[in-house]
């Protein structure tokens, strides 16, 4: 049973990150997920200080709030003339450092371990379950990430055309009356939610990996945005399943293996994709050259 829960958790993380990740990759904001997964730390600590409990709901809210603050600060710095990669770097390292200071100042005597706040371990997912009315309804992580995925599917499904136009041509989107800023923050909110819902239980590396690698793989495989999103979710889920068994054979980190499998899939797509693959392109060029010389 625990195998099932771990794979399901991995697949849910992969699917939710894979969907929102497509928009990040297309908008050249792939590193936003990395930034959010670090800069939520002060939010978690402040939520902990205010509520006095380690209840995940408070932590989740605190983290999500800081996720949005991060995005807002990055946007603001960028608009004031800082380069976009520099503004991402400045904001997330600074916020993370504030979190580290807060932890060292206020939580010295309490058990708020950085490792378990930021870098959860997917292998422990099956044992952290929730109960309703005395019956065990499965791991907490599965419910949290499952809800996040549901939210993402509903919102992206309902506003697909807006997200698409905002990603492709924000100027036209604004001109035809789509509230571009609203959809920007909605997307960033979804990124925050999926990041925050995931990393507490599965670890930041899996989240950041799944936000970027499967969408980048899917980008190489198709010329349609909706198909790209589907492929991205599939590649993510596939890496979750395969990664689990790789980890079992090697007796190694599960989330590490999942991301490695995703990376291997990316490499395969890069080399072999029928549309954008490196090998196909070389083969075509060589054939072209031969035809010219013949």
């Amino acid at each position: 049973m625990s195998t099932f829960w771990i794979i399901l958790t991995g697949a849910l993380v992969a699917a939710s990150c894979g969907i929102v990740g497509c928009f990040l990759v297309l908008r050249k904001m792939a590193m936003i997920g990395d930034a959010i997964s670090h800069s939520v730390l002060p939010g978690i600590v402040i939520a902990f200080l205010l509520s006095g409990s380690r209840d995940s709901l408070f932590m989740l809210l605190g983290a999500a709030a800081l996720g949005l603050v991060t995005v807002f600060l990055i946007q603001w710095l960028h608009r004031s003339g800082v380069q976009s990669d520099a503004s991402i770097g400045v904001v997330f390292t600074a916020l993370f450092a504030v979190g580290v200071i807060l932890v060292s100042l206020y939580t010295r005597d309490i058990d708020l371990d950085l490792d378990c706040v930021l870098y959860g371990e997917i292998a422990y997912v099956p044992w952290n379950t929730i109960e309703i009315g005395g019956t065990d309804i499965g791991p907490k992580a599965v419910w949290g990430i499952g809800l996040a995925l549901l939210l993402i599917v509903l919102i992206v499904g309902a506003f697909f055309k807006q997200f698409k136009l905002c990603a492709f041509d924000p100027a036209l989107a604004a001109a035809v009356g789509i509230p571009v800023a609203l959809f920007h923050y909605l997307l960033m909110g979804l990124v925050s939610v999926s990041t925050v819902a995931s990393f507490e239980s599965v670890g930041a590396i899996l989240v950041v990996g799944m936000l970027v690698v499967p969408p980048a793989t899917a980008y190489l495989l198709t010329d349609s945005l909706s198909r790209m999103i589907g492929y991205s979710a599939l590649v993510g889920c596939g890496s979750a399943v395969a990664g689990y068994y790789v980890a079992r054979v090697l007796d190694a980190s599960i989330s590490g293996s999942m991301v490695c499998v995703a990376g291997a899939m990316f490499l395969l797509a890069l080399l072999l994709s029928p549309k954008h693959g490196v090998l196909v392109r070389q083969w075509k060029q060589r054939r072209f050259a031969r035809e010219r010389s013949a």
Partner: protein
């Protein structure tokens, strides 16, 4: 009296405190092709973007057919500069043209068969229907520009803004754009086009705006396209073009 398609009063725009446009004030006549020319950095694109509310303005009022832009969006079509989007985006030509319909669809409706039919029709008008399924990165610059024009046609507007549609296009596309502008004019639509090539101004446009931070001249081409006005708008930069310019003027 019918309100003008576009009336701008007292418009000023600044980027980081440096003024880009000052005291812009004009009223565009209906059913005319209006060229906007001026040296680099004169604020031509900025004028369009500020009019459409894409960048904040310091002050100024814009009214479209007598009402604020927010209420008249569906009557306005926009062709941004071609380089303003990522042509590696995973989508095809037909899909891009359908984006022109999004404004008409409201919040929740999805593009369907009707939008597809409209988009095909617009692709046909720019001579690109054979490329409907083509991934947009595989189109030439001129073809990409025609896709953008088709998308603006799909917006089915009365007032069009086009930002440098003639830049970097092949002769066939240039001809197609000119034919299209003529057709729009025949239908009584008003088109404002940011343009850079002084040699073709008289051939393409009825009215002309000479812009350099502020409006140097605005009116029918015969009255505005004069050496004095050009000298004022372009300053010293015009002497480089000098000879060609004068000959073009004499010929005209």
């Amino acid at each position: 009296m019918k309100p003008s398609p576009l009336t701008i009063r007292n418009l000023s725009v600044a980027y980081r405190k440096k003024p880009v446009l000052r005291d812009i004030e004009f009223e565009a006549p209906e059913g005319k092709l209006i060229g906007i020319v001026g040296p680099n950095g004169a604020g031509k694109s900025t004028l369009i973007k500020a009019t459409l509310g894409l960048i904040p303005r310091l002050c100024g009022e814009v009214s479209i057919y007598g009402e604020p832009y927010a209420r008249q969006r569906r009557r306005v079509g926009y062709v941004p500069q071609r380089e303003s989007v990522d042509w590696d985006f995973p989508t095809n030509a037909l899909d891009v043209v359908m984006m022109g319909r999004y404004g008409h669809l409201g919040w929740f409706r999805r593009p369907g068969r009707k939008e597809r039919a409209i988009a095909m029709e617009c692709l046909d008008k720019v001579g690109m229907s054979a490329y409907a399924d083509r991934q947009i990165s595989q189109l030439s610059g001129g073809q990409q520009q025609r896709i953008f024009l088709a998308r603006a046609l799909a917006q089915d507007a009365d007032l069009y803004f086009m930002d440098e549609p003639f830049v970097g296009v092949d002769a066939a596309t240039e001809k197609a754009i000119v034919a299209l502008l003529g057709e729009l004019k025949e239908q009584g639509k008003t088109v404002l086009v940011v343009h850079h090539d002084l040699a073709t101004v008289e051939e393409y446009f009825d009215w002309l705006m000479l812009l350099n931070e502020t409006i140097v001249a605005f009116g029918p081409v015969e009255r505005t396209f004069t050496p004095e006005h050009l000298q004022t708008a372009y300053g010293g930069k015009l002497t480089l073009l000098g000879r060609d310019e004068r000959s073009a003027l004499i010929l005209g």
